[in-house]
Symmetry: D2
Subunit: 336 residues, 4 copies
C-alpha cells in the first residue's frame, strides 16, 4: 500500500513509500484511509519541534477518515463498511486525561494517517457523521473537537456571544458551533474579504484587527457593552491583552495555542477584578468527540474546507498551512 | 384606574373595580400595565387552592407587561419609557431561593397585574425583549422561564434531544428553546392536529399518546435507541413511569407540575440503575430571567399565543385554561 | 485452587470446588485474592433475582482484595506485589456509563471473587489503600464508592449536613466521608445502641426512627430548621416521603436502593416547590474510585466491619446479611 | 462618636475625628463596631492607588465586626443584640457580580468601618460565627471569603492537595479550610520558623522558597508526582511560572492578587497541554459568605491573628501590613 513517510525532519524529507498491509489484532479495526486533514501539530512533527518523543521514519498527520474493512474478534464498536475518523488522542476514552495515556497520539509518536491501510484500537476511532464525505469527516478530529470543547466548557448557550480570532479551522468550527447553539459570533481578521465570508457563515460582527489594533473595546461594544461570554484564544501572545479587554465579567477565555509566541503577558488585576477564567484546552476525550458527532449529524453541519490536495501533494498542503491565510481546513483526498 | 379583584374564591367573584393610582417609593417603578397572561397558578389562586397565605380581596394574575411611567429616586435599572415585564418571584434576584424571599410572589400573596397602574420594586421587574409587543412579553415570566430553566439545568446542547409532554405554554417554550440550542424536540399530544402544529414550530417527532399509551419505548426509539437527554415533566402522576422509560442513562427529568395528580409512583430500580436525575423546578431567579431575555432578543423568538382576551374577559380566559386543549399561552390585552 | 461456586440459585447451592489456576493475557493481571466483602447485590445473585443474564455455575461475590502475582506484557498499571481491589463495574473507566459496558460486572454475569486466583483486565482493578489490610480493602469497591459518589455529586462540603438512613455499609461510609469533608452527619436507626456507636464514629445527631416515625421534621430541626443538604436514600419506598421532609430547599436526595420495596410514592408538589434533586446513583467510574482511594489514604480512614467470616463460612455471612442488623460491612477472610 | 478619617492620601493623613451618630433608614441596621481587620486593599485606599473613585475625607478599612443596636422597620434579617460582620461588596447578594453593584464597596468608595457606630443595608451585613469574638470575626470578610471561594470554585475535596504561597491572611485561611475538607496543604515561606508554625496549623509539607527557587518541581514531588489540585496564587508575577510547574494536569490556579507586580508572564504551551484553569477570584457573594460562616461555626475554626492593635494604632497596623512578614491577620480592637 501507498504511504508517506518522514525520513528526517524537514519538508524535503517527506517521501512516498510502499508498506506492507497490516492485519488487525483482536481489539483492532482495519481501516481503508480515504482522506486526511492538516493541523498545525502536523507541521510541528515535520519541522522537528514536536514536544513528544518521535522516532523516524514515521507516517505523519493525525487526522484521517475512511471505511472499516475488517474487525478483530473482540471488537464491538464497529463492523465492516462503517465509516470512521481517527481519534488522535488514541487512549483518552472519557474523564480526565491520565498520565499513562498522555503520549498516545496518532501522527506522532504513534504512526499517522498518510497510509492507505491502518489498524487502530476500536477506541482510537469514532463514527463519522453519516452526511459527510471522507474528506469532510477527516477535518473533524482535532480542530472541530477543540472548538466544541471550548464552547462546551464555557457552557455557551442561546443569547450569549463568542469571539473568534481569525478564520482558521478551529475558529470557523467555533463560529459554526456557536451559531448552532443560538449564540452570536464576532470574528476578527485582517482581511475584509474573509470577514465577509465569515458573515456568510453566520458571523454577526466582523472586525478588521489590522485597522483596529485596540479591537478589545470594539468587541465589548459589539456585545452590548458588557463584553463577550467566551473568547476562542488561538493566538496567545499577541492577543491575550485585548482578549481580556473583550471578555465580560466572569467571562471565559479558552487558551488553545501559541501561534503568536510561546509566552504571553498577563495583566493580573484585570484577571482578578473581572474574575476571568483562562482555561487551557487541548482537544477532549472520545466521549466528547461522540457528543460532537451527534451534534454535527443532527444539524447537518458542513465543515469549511479551504482547499483539497491529492495524496502526492502533502508538501504543497504544508506550504499553504505555514503560509497562513487559509479560510477553514486544508484536506488531502487519497483518491485524487 | 381599572382593576380586577377577587372578592371571594371562585370565578364568580372576579369583579372590575376602580382603584386609586399608586405612587412609587424610592426603590420603586410605576408601570402602566398593558397586558397579562395566565398560568395554572392563577387558577389555583382564584379557586382557593393556592398554598400561600392570601388575603382577599386581591388583584389576581402573576404575569404582566407594560411601560415604565415614573421611577423612584434610588432606581438605577429603569427609566420612563422602558418596556418591562413583571418578575413573579419578586425578591429572588440570584443564587438559591432564600427562606426570607419565598412567600414574595406577584399575583398572590402580593397583588397581581390585573390593574392598569402598579408600582414594583426595581428588582421585581425585567426588561421586555425589544421585538415583542406587550401581549407577547406578558407570556414570558413564569412559563418561558420555567422551560428555560429545565434546559439550562440539564445543560441541553446541540445534538441532544428533549421530550415535551403536551402543547401548553411551558412545553412550547421548551420546544422553541430546544430548537434554538440545536437540540431535537419530541412532542406528545392526544391530537394529531396539534402534533402537526408542533412540527411546524420545529418539533422533529410527534407522538399521539392516546394511540400509544406505552409511548416511552417509542420515544426511546425515536432518539436513536438510547433515550432522550431530558424530559420536561409537566404532568407527573400519569406520565412519570413512561418518562423514565423514555429518558437515557444519566438522563434528566425536570419535574415541574402535578397536573395529573399530587402523587406519582416512582419505580426505584429504574432511577438507580439508569442513574436518572429528577429535578424539581419552579421558575428561577431574575438573573436567569435576564439571560433568557437576552436569548429571546438575540434569536427573535416569538411566543406561541393560543388566544388573546380583552380586559373584561378574564373569566372566559380562565374557562379556556381549565378546559385544557390550548396550544400555547392565553393572554389578556388591556387595550382590547 | 479453592473456589466457591453457585451451582443453582439458593443458599443451599453454594459449594466449594477446586478450579484450575488461570493464566493472565497480555492486558491482564493475575491476583491472589485474600478477602471479599458482601453487598446486597451478591444476595440477589445467589437468590436468583439479579436483573442481569447469569449462567450457572458461577463464582459469586463482586468485591475482593488481594496481591498481584503476575502481569501480562501490555500491563502498565500494576506490577507483582501491588495490593489491589477489584473494581466491580469492570469496564467503566471514566465519564458516563456506556451501553457497551453496562453488563460487565464482576460477581455476575462475570465471575466473582470467591476464588484464590483470578485474572482481571488491568482497568478492572484499583490500587488498595496502603494502610488497609486486604480484609479492610475488600469492603470498599461497591459500598464505599456508592457513598463517596453521593457526597461528590451533591458537592457536600464543610458546614453542610447529611442524613443517613441506617447503619449498613453504605451509610457508615457516607458518615465517615461526610465527617472528613467537615460536614455534619445525622443518623437514623431503630436501635439506640447503634445510634451510640454511630456517634462514636462522629455522627452529630442520632434519631431512633422507631420511636419517631415522623422523623423528617426532627431532622429538619436538627439541621437548623432549613433541612439537610443531602440524604443518602438507601431504603426508598418506606422513607422517601420523610426524606423529602428532611431535605432543604434545593437539596439533594441520592437514590441508591430499594430495600423497602420496588416502588415509592413521590409527593410532586414538594419536589417542585422545594426544587429538590433526586439523583439515582449506582457506584461510579474507576476514575472516581481512584479519587476515593486517594482520599482514604490521605485521611487514614478505616472501614467499619461488622464481622469477618472464613472462606468456608459464606453461607453464614449471607444469613447475617439478609437478617439485617449489621453495623457496617460483612467480610470474608480467605486465610481464616 | 470616635472615627478615623483619611483627609488626604498617605499614612500621615489618618486622623481621629468626632462624627455625629447615624440613624438607620427602613432597610438599615445600626451597628456598634467593635473591631476591624486590615487587608491590602485598605492600604491601597490610604496610599491613593485604589482603582475606584473615592472622595476624601473618607473613613477607611473594609472589614469590621460588632453588635446590632437598632434595626429599621423593613429589616427582617437582624435584630438588636445580633453579632455581625460587614460584607464589603455591599450589594452582591448572590449569583454573578452585576455592573450596577460593582462600585459598591465598604471602605472605599463607601465609608469604611473605623467608626464606632455605622448604618448598613441589611444585605451589607452577615451574621458573625457564634463562637468568635468581634476581633476574630472582623478578620473574616475579605480574606476568609477569598480563600473559601478558591477551594469552593476548585471543588477541593478529601484527598486532594492545595498549595499556599506564604503565610498571610488569605493563605492561612486557605490552609485551614483545606484541612477541614480533608485535603492536604503544602505551604511556601522564606522563613523556616513560619513553616513550622504552618505545620502546627495542619500543613502537611513546608517548603522554603528562598532556599529552593525552583520549588515547582518540589511541590509536584510532594504531591505524589502528579502535582497539586489547586494553587492559591496570592503573588502573581514572581510565582506564576513555578505555580504552573506545581499544578496537576486539569489543575486549578486561583489568581487572587498582584503583590509581586501587575503583570505576569504566562507560558502558553504549559497552560494548553496541561489543560490548566486560571481563575480570577475577588471575594464572592453574600450567599457564599453565609455558607462559609456555617462552615466556620460547624467546625469551630479560629482565625489566625498576627497582632491586635488599639483604635488609635491604625498607623502602626498599616506599617506592619506593608512591611510584610506577618503570620495571619492584623486586627484592630476598638476597646483597646
Amino acid at each position: 500500500m501507498r504511504a508517506i513517510q518522514l525520513a528526517a525532519f524537514g519538508l524535503d524529507h517527506l517521501q512516498q513509500v510502499d508498506l506492507p498491509a497490516p492485519r488487525p489484532g483482536p481489539n483492532e479495526v482495519l481501516v481503508r484511509i480515504e482522506a486526511a486533514s492538516l493541523n498545525f501539530r502536523d507541521w510541528m512533527l515535520v519541522d522537528g519541534q514536536l514536544y513528544r518523543g518521535v522516532s523516524l521514519p514515521i507516517v505523519p498527520v493525525s487526522d484521517g477518515a475512511g471505511t472499516v474493512l475488517e474487525v478483530g474478534a473482540a471488537v464491538t464498536r464497529f463492523k465492516p463498511g462503517d465509516r470512521v475518523t481517527t481519534f488522535y488522542k488514541s487512549r483518552w476514552i472519557a474523564g480526565a486525561m491520565r498520565p499513562e495515556w498522555e503520549g498516545a497520539e496518532i501522527g506522532g509518536p504513534e504512526p499517522g494517517v498518510m497510509r492507505e491501510l491502518a489498524c487502530f484500537d476500536q477506541y482510537s476511532l469514532a463514527r463519522a457523521p453519516a452526511h459527510l464525505s471522507s474528506v469532510q469527516a477527516a477535518t473533524l478530529p482535532i480542530a472541530a473537537l477543540t472548538a466544541w470543547q471550548v464552547l462546551e466548557t464555557a457552557h455557551i448557550t442561546t443569547g450569549q456571544s463568542v469571539l473568534l480570532l481569525g478564520t482558521g479551522g478551529v475558529s470557523l468550527f467555533a463560529l459554526q458551533f456557536a451559531r448552532l447553539r443560538g449564540a452570536r459570533a464576532i470574528v476578527l481578521s485582517s482581511s475584509d474579504d474573509k470577514l465577509e465570508r465569515a458573515k456568510a457563515l453566520g458571523a454577526d460582527v466582523g472586525i478588521n484587527y489590522a485597522k483596529y489594533p485596540q479591537w478589545g473595546a470594539l468587541v465589548r461594544e459589539a456585545s452590548g457593552g458588557a463584553g463577550v461570554d467566551a473568547v476562542v484564544e488561538t493566538v496567545g501572545a499577541a492577543t491575550l491583552a485585548q482578549s481580556l479587554e473583550a471578555v465580560r465579567m466572569h467571562g471565559f477565555i479558552g487558551v488553545l495555542g501559541w501561534l503568536g509566541g510561546m509566552e504571553a503577558t498577563l495583566p493580573l488585576a484585570k484577571v482578578v477584578l473581572r474574575r476571568v477564567r483562562l482555561q487551557g484546552i487541548s482537544v477532549a476525550s472520545l466521549e466528547e468527540h461522540e457528543r460532537m458527532v451527534a451534534a454535527i449529524e443532527a444539524t447537518g453541519l458542513a465543515p469549511v474546507i479551504d482547499r483539497v490536495y491529492g495524496f502526492g501533494q502533502l508538501r504543497e498542503a504544508f506550504e499553504r498551512l505555514t503560509a497562513g491565510g487559509h479560510f477553514g481546513k486544508l484536506a488531502v483526498d487519497f483518491s485524487a
